[in-house]
Symmetry: D2
Subunit: 371 residues, 4 copies
């Protein structure tokens, strides 16, 4: 079990963002030396870890390039990406995700492990019916790699179409650890998201740097819990967006959850933020999706569609019901006076180092563009 | 019709290579400025041509990277390449080549044109039953592009396991022109050969530079003709190799040719060079292939297998029979006192400029290898 | 152009079904001799036609059984059918339908023809903003063939969840002719529907004979027209079902139609029949689909989902906007006092004869079931 | 372990066929009651066995008909069959066979078991360097099933292009048992052979009944053994045919076998029977194939190509080398005075009962042909 890092102890309580800005600013710079560390140095630094806990190398999609299955999978991902491009959302059945993730390099034995990974979650800082952890990653298209970023607290604002009691509040989640980030199925999900989203032009959000070649991905591992006393709400905030460019949600598993639970509705961006599903306009509903199988995955162009999610209901109302998800937020880095401008560091994580190659469908276009 | 270039006039007759070496040496250097010209400048220089004869851009495999069919084709090519790797030869049915070449970017309308392209061939310099043209191309893995190279004469030696009356003789073929080299099916065949052969380790020939990242490809467009007076022999030389690393032979069409004609046999490298098929040892026969359909394509690791080809027989013996082929020789550039050391220029062709992107299955490995 | 048959002249006006029952009963029997005519006799009878208007044979899916593409298509249809089985609805992109229909035997030249086939529609009997024709077909799983059935009028009742001013009214549509029914793309759509729906267990409607091995398919070719004076409503009836087991809707084309037009919403069967979309409960919305490309096809288990369709809006409001669709209703034959019990003949059409083979995924199960 | 059946005791020694004809004739008829037993009765009779040794049901290809993988596999088999049709031989890599056999219904756990199944072989009746067993099966296209046939001795004659010391001799092999015949990978190999060969027109052999809708398949499980004292010859008979319509050979495994061992050469039917490879004419060689991977499978139209196989050589010459194969001979039943006319019973096996469904690509053509 991961000890709470001294850095995170800075963030003892949830409090409004304005109070904390100077402290956050002060915290980042002394780690600037660490910026831009590549894979090679990561490997070297992991030798300390290796002595204690040897582990397999991370997923390397480049090593799949000699295999027919890899190209067949990329061909299928092309088709899914085309649907995403046209419809601004796509739902992929988990049974279809399995061969795609394997073809990207995920190891067989990591599938069962991933499904159980949310057992280590802890109480959410602001929601009583939720257990959570998060982690930050950088899709770096300069180095064509994904790397773990250092801890930062988290905030979403009303300005970003997120209306909840804790909007505009700095929240501090405990971090996801190696059990998740070293799982090659998880890593393949990140590679998949990279291929799907790279090159998709989206309606731009204010105060994000669309010239950057790096994306910030905040990953949430979440368990929504319904008990006889408390209804678990995957989206207590009602109709909302996540303040990002691309939201991807992947189902792990559930227990005692009824079949009408946790339906995701997509609404036209004109729908009113913060209202409940039964208050929405039917004609503004754009799509409906329900995660039912392990690895069922939904992608949404987050600034072009709002979404809402219905509650988790128990089959046996006398017992607890749970629903485990991975939520991948991805957006360009913030600029200016964005609510997250002081909590958007691109500095690699020092303790939980991870870096592995990603790819895009435009790999190899360089020759052409250089001409 | 292409006028004979002044450079080629230097090569008025077939004569032994030793007589010519000083002249060849003197001829190359003054064109060094031209070396390494990229696509952009080629395009600029073609503007003169464009005024006279507008033409479509060459094949750009990079533009296929957003299409599912492209990846499905690459997946299939992976399987063919694996067979080639294991067996040191592979035969691909032309009916299977068609969708692969289309997926690499070949245009529909260029298929029929390619099949008829050998109608413009002229008399072979040394073989009375053959019409021919050739052209030289560079697979340049530094620029990841294929470009047309300037004219050079041609020679094959006994040392290279080629035993014929014209072994060790410098031969001068007329050049293939834009009707062939601008055909996108032809260009796709070159891309295909690049993907198939890149990264395959072969038994090295002496006096070739295996450290070079460039390959020289000599392309022969050949028509073998059998008449009542003369038997057409696709390989008069009997059992032989072509003095290269990879030989690829692609069938275009035939007329009045009997079904038992032009069978290619592969022989163990221990088989004796120069003997006729009926003198060979059956137990040294490694494979048998016969081109029958448009685009049937055979690949051979040329320094690990010898091969022979049976004659072209006429169905109606009173009439001419013909067989049209494209032969792609590919090897590393020569070094030292190789017979071709003075006729192996890597200088781009000035009149018949062509350059377009190629690819390999290891594209994108750069991140990994840079670590 | 088809002359109006004398039989259809019996149905001069739209009138309540009760008035007509004795007449309908009297009309059918004298054609009993014609029942069960197979393909062989159809072909013989067409010799008359052939003298006047020679035509190609209908689609024969059996002839595809030696082709790899056929099995690849059936493999893909398996996956679509599994989605249909699980979700009780499936939407197939027209661009994906094209290769599937070709693999079932549709001829290339029939695609463009089908897209324009609704140009021959005439005024709808009850809806001023619609042009229409219909035709009746039998999926006969005993003979494993589809055949055209004789003309019958048409009715839908409130009891069948169809609430409109003309509910419970006998409507007489003009018939679709050979230009549609001999189109092999149309025929392949019927084969596709057969494969998709055969073997799917559905919630049974009252007064249908679920023991029958024959299905009645009523095909509507419809053009919805919006003019400056009149809004075209693909489903004026609001939330409804079509009184059948499986509804399939296929898009042909539109003119001057805005992108927010003609969206299909699927509602939980608990939703109230006859209400407008903006009156529906968002939480009862099950899916949303919009036909945009030629051959976009939606399948619905009609007795398990209600549906509604939004209007056709014009881009240029001063001009007419049109939307052309094919609607395939399929249900078991009626029994007892069903509103259609006297207009549900299974007698083949005498003038517009057509019969061709269909298939199901359980073809060949016979050995097993005989054990 | 299987006790030797009393029937087989009739065949105590290898002796010329002429001596035995009356006895064989006398032996068959009293089992006529058993002829034509279908699957249903087989199942009933196995209840006795079930009490002692419960076993899983045999492969049922019909149960695969709802699965996408099944159709994808059949699509691929179509392509292989087309190659077989054109070239009269086809070699399928075992790594490609695995997914095909799984898609036909083979169970994962049966692959490893099959590879080791030849461990139970016993000494061959006539060849000192071979261990063997055989079994007879009927491809019955009337019942669309494959069933085990009763024991019969075996003979091949010079007339059938089989020239060896034991030509024209009746040989008695011990029988293959349930460990082989209940293996679903083995069963899938039989289904595969059925699909590949059904509908292929071949040059007819004399004295076979080409009007019959049943094929006799004699299966040999063979281990060729090379020792320091004895060279193992997979085909001691040199150039030969197997006296059947279709020969299929499938590799299981080998030990201590050198890479140049056991190469199969196909020769033009004009090649002389009985000669050694080094005596053959190179120009009559039609193909060369070498089994290297588990399930590598070669199919030959046996009456249109002769074949020979080179010996099994040891890597370590001081130790035994082995090569395990399954050989599937298939031909129409004999008629008249064929050497096997008294040993070609179609009576099901009473002790080792087995029957399971087979399929052909023309399944479902019945509608068409019945018209």
């Amino acid at each position: 079990m991961e000890a709470i890092s001294p850095i995170k102890k800075l963030w003892g309580m949830v409090r409004p963002v304005s109070h904390l800005q100077h402290r956050i600013r002060g915290y980042s710079p002394y780690q600037q030396w660490n910026r831009g560390i590549g894979v090679a140095s990561s490997v070297l630094k992991q030798t300390g870890d290796l002595a204690v806990e040897p582990h397999l190398p991370p997923l390397n999609v480049q090593k799949q390039r000699g295999k027919a299955e890899f190209y067949e999978a990329i061909g299928r991902i092309c088709q899914l990406r085309q649907k995403y491009l046209e419809n601004r959302t796509v739902f992929v059945d988990g049974r279809e995700m399995v061969p795609l993730l394997k073809a990207l390099g995920a190891r067989d034995e990591d599938f069962a492990t991933l499904q159980a990974v949310n057992n280590v979650l802890i109480d959410d800082p602001t929601l009583p019916f939720r257990k959570s952890r998060n982690g930050r990653f950088c899709f770096d298209w300069n180095t064509k790699s994904l790397r773990r970023l250092e801890f930062q607290p988290f905030a979403l604002s009303l300005e970003e179409d997120f209306k909840r009691h804790d909007s505009n509040t700095i929240r501090r989640f405990d971090e996801v650890d190696n059990d998740l980030q070293r799982n090659t199925v998880f890593q393949a999900l990140l590679v998949f998201k990279g291929v799907m989203c790279h090159g998709i032009t989206v309606n731009e959000r204010p105060k994000l740097n669309y010239r950057s070649n790096q994306w910030v991905c905040t990953l949430f591992a979440l368990r929504t819990v319904t008990t006889p006393e408390m209804l678990g709400e995957p989206a207590l905030e009602g109709v909302h967006t996540d303040g990002v460019d691309h939201t991807m949600t992947t189902y792990l598993r559930s227990t005692n959850m009824s079949s009408n639970s946790a339906v995701t509705f997509l609404h036209d961006i004109k729908e009113k933020t913060g209202i409940r599903l039964n208050e929405t306009s039917p004609e503004l509903i754009q799509a409906r999706a329900q995660h039912r199988n392990f690895l069922d995955t939904l992608l949404i162009v987050d600034n072009e569609r709002k979404h809402s999610i219905s509650p988790v209901y128990a089959v046996d109302a006398s017992r607890e019901a749970t629903r485990d998800m991975l939520i991948f937020f991805t957006r360009k880095p913030v600029v200016g006076d964005h609510i997250s401008s002081d909590i958007d560091s691109l500095i690699p994580h020092r303790e939980k180092q991870l870096e592995f190659p990603i790819m895009s469908l435009s790999d190899g276009y360089e020759l052409e563009s250089a001409e």
